[in-house]
Symmetry: D2
Subunit: 186 residues, 4 copies
């Protein structure tokens, strides 16, 4: 098959997966973002890259956002929100992060395939994305011809970009204002 | 609008943009990947996160892949391929990378909105993605309601995931074999 | 030679190099840090790791610090200070960063072997560390049996740690207060 | 005090700490590096930056080295060596890495203040650096006026640079050969 045929398959899979995400949960997630004083993003591998892309857009919107593990990320406090992106919901380093966040009284949101996972059980808000998981017994309801966790990672990324658009709408923010905060030394 | 409505808008924009990518150029890009001894990925910001996601999948496929700027990335040689992901095609640090790669005789591939950009002019293969650019005069033919370069970054990411599927098809590789190379210490 | 003998050689080289750094320039550098609203650190390779270590300590001290190229690093403004760590003072990506910072009216400080380098010429404060450089004609006055830029990188790192101690003294800050801001999710 | 006085204090502390590191253990560590097919470095915060600096030098020497958590780092196998840099020896994410490495039959080396820590107990080689620890009951025998874990991090970094010199001696490698593998696109 050629590239166009493959992208059509991917887009059909994404359409199925994203239309199964609960819009009320998405709205709850937006509210958590807005209420938090500081927002910390955590994720491993390709899930982590999507998480970083979201952290960057939050910074563009003028919010205090951080990526767990990066150089200048401070301690989380009770006014913070930890957003964990994890297909399996059980990656050990991410479970640690979530446990520590809860210990200090911070809120935890999880974007995952498996709401019954260890992080799912302690999270304040769980966004379920029904994609297949290479690491978990739970496989979601949407099948995929893509390798490994690709469908989850893509869905997570587009879900978060839709959250950005909703936050822009709620806060009356436009692209130019955001571009003004864009890193200007590269 | 709610999250589902926003993801529908995003998917419609992606469908328009990705269906305008030249499948013959995509096939040429796959061939460059296969011929290269080592593949180096470079990109800034969110374009860079999509580039890293592709570098990781290439590693999963057993290829020698590197991200420019990461700790253990060696020098590029004449048998290497540099893949630059840059909406504007003119980010200065990326222009430097492309210049240096050409100097040592390596090949350069560019994924961009603007094939007439400085990197576009020296690249051996150019993949044009007709999304709007916040940094360039050239705006692509597909309009977007999304902020900044989001449509380009999403398109780049899904284009590269389709490239992974095509490479898997050509090389008879399956998801399980790739998962076996997945980082196992997290 | 065994490890102890090698560390003795390294410490003798460091003693010579660090005793040749101008303490008045160091004090000027501390003042620039204190005056800046936001401090941006930039460096490539091992110089960059030392720069990140300093950015982290500034965060521990309660200052707004960022590493150029990390996810949540915003635009620099006229009230910002860019600290570039570059043995040669001529690494292209770092020259770009310094140029852009000057364009917006920010201050630039450089830690380098070569004060006559391109970045040295535009920097507001230059800290000269007289170590040998693998990339520059200028070699510093202190010879080294260590490979590549190791003596510079080590000197840069300890110089910056001494700056941290001086800032703590000036601001009456202690280690416990700093530890309270230490990332608490790992 | 001025910068020069502070660097003199730091160098005196380093001299005491590094002269207390067991040279036979250091030699054992060098042998583990030489025997390993692939070397994985792991560390958090400033310990992690020193670990990355060492991973980079190993790459310059032509060894297959990786940093845990970076994009193209593959799975570790029984022929791999995991080097953990952790003052406390008990950072949870690093304990996970060490556990997983042992599970697949890889070797683990630890550079630490506390040899009796969780990672110390499972490591095949432990390098003890007797600096104070902000996170551990064990404080090392060398006191420090520096904040947080600075003395450990500096000692770790110089210890590893001495290891590089010893490996160069054993393998007859010189700085020019290493510089030839240095990243050439920045």
């Amino acid at each position: 098959m050629n590239n166009r045929e493959y992208t059509e398959i991917i887009l059909r899979e994404l359409s199925k997966t994203l239309s199964a995400v609960d819009p009320l949960k998405a709205e709850e997630f937006c509210e958590r973002i807005e209420k938090a004083e500081e927002i910390f993003l955590a994720g491993a591998g390709r899930s982590g890259f999507a998480a970083k892309g979201f952290a960057m857009r939050l910074m563009h919107m003028g919010k205090k956002s951080y990526v767990v593990g990066e150089t200048c990320t401070p301690n989380i406090t009770e006014n913070g929100l930890l957003v964990v992106c994890s297909g399996s919901g059980s990656t050990k380093s991410l479970v640690n992060h979530a446990d520590k966040a809860k210990e200090v009284g911070a809120k935890v949101a999880l974007i995952t395939i498996d709401p019954d996972s260890p992080i799912g059980k302690i999270a304040d808000t769980v966004i379920e994305i029904p994609a297949p998981s290479p690491k978990s017994a739970r496989q979601g309801n949407v099948s995929s011809v893509q390798p490994m966790g690709s469908l989850f990672e893509q869905s997570e990324s587009l879900f978060l970009d839709a959250v950005v658009m909703r936050l822009m709408e709620k806060e009356g923010m436009d692209s130019d204002a955001m571009f003004g905060r864009h890193a200007n030394m590269e």
